[in-house]
Symmetry: C4
Subunit: 281 residues, 4 copies
């Protein structure tokens, strides 16, 4: 590899993987819009009346996006020092899966499951949304959610146990004629009611069933307070901490190690904290 080519590769790496330079930001914004456009395509194609009318237009647009994604994928593989590591990484797999559906449909014909594959493109949004971090907005929020993760899991687990017990009771009380055909269906109804969603596809008709349902609703109304209380308290604690140590999340940037793809290097870092290789610029 000669020096000039390496330079060109480094530049491309910076544009594709980072968001500190103007070109890098532009690349991210264009990629974001391409991904959104590709998602809209998948959605529109699923609407029968639109697909019948504009099938050819949608097909051409899908090809354009597939080609753009192909170019991007090749560029990503080329500019990374350890291509195999990228290909096997989470985003590497997502990028590949986002690119290939059209090629597969060319070989095997348009099968339903490809829609799911194309919908995976949405996950790519999250990579670009590392940008969101720099808004500094969701940082305390994420910390609060992380801190309350275990507690909310325990709470949701309790909700599920309550749903199973109450669902079984309702199955015995209501029986088949009002839609409570089996225990799983009754549990489903119980979750629908406890979370105050209330479709109404299944609803109790016997007086006793309606009485128990009322208890379930009031219970659901009462326990919705619990996750809210947890998140609020944790979030309030986080924001208080943040004000006391305001420097904590300023020094992060969007630099990305050429060697091991590690992120969140400090601004004044010269070497990767993960693999020890010298960082680009």
């Amino acid at each position: 590899m000669n020096t000039q080519k390496k330079h060109w590769k480094d530049k491309l790496h910076e544009i594709i993987y980072e968001a500190d330079t103007k070109a890098g930001k532009l690349f991210d914004v264009i990629l974001l819009y391409t991904i959104i456009a590709s998602i809209l395509l998948v959605m529109l194609e699923s609407v029968e009346s639109i697909d019948a009318k504009y099938h050819n237009v949608l097909d051409v647009l899908e090809w354009i996006i597939t080609i753009l994604f192909t170019i991007e994928y090749i560029a990503r593989v080329v500019t990374v020092k350890k291509p195999f590591k990228y290909i096997c990484s989470f985003y590497g797999v997502i990028d590949l899966l986002s690119t290939i559906p059209k090629y597969i449909s060319l070989a095997f014909g348009g099968i339903q499951a490809l829609v799911a594959l194309r919908a995976l493109r949405l996950l790519r949004v999250f990579r670009i949304l590392k940008l969101v971090r720099y808004l500094g907005a969701s940082n305390a929020l994420l910390k609060a959610l992380k801190a309350s993760r275990v507690k909310i899991s325990v709470f949701l687990f309790a909700v599920i146990i309550i749903s199973i017990i109450l669902g079984t009771i309702m199955y015995l009380v209501e029986g088949n004629q009002s839609g409570f055909t089996s225990i799983p269906t009754s549990v489903y109804w119980c979750i629908v009611t406890l979370t105050t969603v209330g479709y109404g596809d299944i609803s109790p008709i016997t007086p006793l069933g309606q009485f128990i349902a009322s208890l379930v609703m009031v219970l659901g109304y009462g326990i919705i307070a619990v996750p809210t209380g947890i998140v609020t308290a944790e979030y309030a604690a986080q924001t208080k901490n943040e004000k006391q140590t305001p420097q904590s999340n300023i020094s992060l940037n969007s630099k990305c190690c050429l060697n091991c793809l590690a992120e969140n290097h400090k601004d004044n870092a010269d070497f990767c904290y993960n693999c020890g290789k010298k960082l680009h610029r």
Copy 2:
């Protein structure tokens, strides 16, 4: 312009644009009731059975309100020093649009879209509700909402992404027979479920679909805690700040510059903070 006429204009300006004098408050209250009456008229007219019976009465009342609004609009234009600026301002346009529907229908006949134009009158309420500010009630609330705006936007954006992913999965799982006819419809269903609205016009019927729906509901139940946590923490912080600096929002009044329409002058202000012109009284 002679002195007396100017005096008359100034008085009218004070009555129409401000709410510190008795006459000004009376004007605002009458205007508020006229606007509410005009909204009720639009609503009643849309009910077919009422419109069929009382069409003439409603028509006469609408003419009365139109004439009142016309007089008010002319008075506003006349008393302001820079009428063109007022006409082009947000409330100037709203005032005009609130006044003209009946004249348009006279020229072109009663078209449906005029209803929307008349509903715009509701926006006029907000001008009078600057009065609400003086209740001192919603001040900390507005600050809290402003402070949590970015965070809630990020959160709602995450909700939309989750809805699209889960909606696509449900479209693949449920298929046409239970109403999940296209991905946009499925995403609509997912938002209906995640926000715990739950119409029941579309609801899953396959066991797997019901299982995923249950997960969506429990998820929705869990994440409703997030915006609540944000607003609560911010609001608590705002009220704490407010108690420490209680003078902060006392000195505002409802004075309004005759020249540039700027508001929120300090009580002891003699010149407009915006254009530098001397303030009336």
Copy 3:
């Protein structure tokens, strides 16, 4: 009035109007159960199948309760020093209205509106629930609700304005075929959606309508945070204050002035704080 009779009256007054003695508490508990029984009677009578079967039993029970309430009403009038003041007071009117429905039906036959009159008995529960205050439970809660009353009113007013604007838009977008038959109906739908109730009796069917509905839901999901934030912050402030001044709500008892019916006298009070008359015991 001789001394003994006065003594007897005073004792009865203490039993009926206060809850500090054993007999007073017992009276309140019996009254509470009688009221609950009378409410259950009204409810059961409204169920056609039960009324057809047990009409006579329900009728007899209603007569028993009516007689009990009559005795209680007479006792209340007799033991109070200013009977006319009691009769005209809020609870005096409620007590009378709770007693007379059966007598009226005897004179004019069973008319529908009497059911409403009998349901008023439920309001009597609140008098007895002054007992709840002594649990010390809802005191900080009531203060918090009182402190946040204005703010929540402003908030609910904003919700109603938003509902009218969005309801009008939905009326124009959806039209008659999906149930949006008039603007009031659309506004009703909008409140149903914004509060995440979601009956599903009216639901949008056009793509644009479903899109706007999604926005309404996400909006409703976001703004549910506001009243919660207000109440939480105020309640947290109240509980903090309470801990700093723990004596504030201990000294209240259930004594009640024989003369003016004023309540919440201090434990060591000898004279009514309201009318200056000597308090009984």
Copy 4:
């Protein structure tokens, strides 16, 4: 009893009743999965299509679980010093009821009510979930819920009174044609609406009914803030206390007295705090 047998019994006691040793933890995990499997069996059996196909498989699996539970129950009775006390304790009864349904069905044939008996097995999960305590997660949460128990009860009681009053009003306003057939049904509707569940099986159709329903919804939207506010404030207070006294809930372990089944002994405890007998190990 010879020493060796006692030793064997003690070891088994440790495995079954405690979770500090490796074997004890393994036992708990296996029991947890067996219970979950038995619950899944009950659920699957209730689905007609599955029961028709795999009746024999489900029957055999149920027998296996019944035998496992029988062995466990006998082991529990044998290793406890006071077997009669265990048999009469809450978990002792649950354990017995979890074991016998299959034996009963052998004697009397498969009756419906046995399903409820088998669903009781779910309650056994809570015993194992004493493990959850060691995650330290739900401790502050449980304390907060305990502290706000009375207040939330008062609140829920108020919700029920409001529901009865509003339900009676709606019964008078709407009448039979829209599903408000009796006061209990109307009260049921009111709870469905106030808790924002909103099935839509009963919904108002008269303009006045829809107007009152709107008020109920907005009211429900407003008062959902109350339990949330209570729990949040209490939880925030609990977490603050916990940080100040971090040692408070560390010293608990899963030891269990052989004699009286008391739990939550301190790590360095040698004698049971409840019955004074020497603790095992």
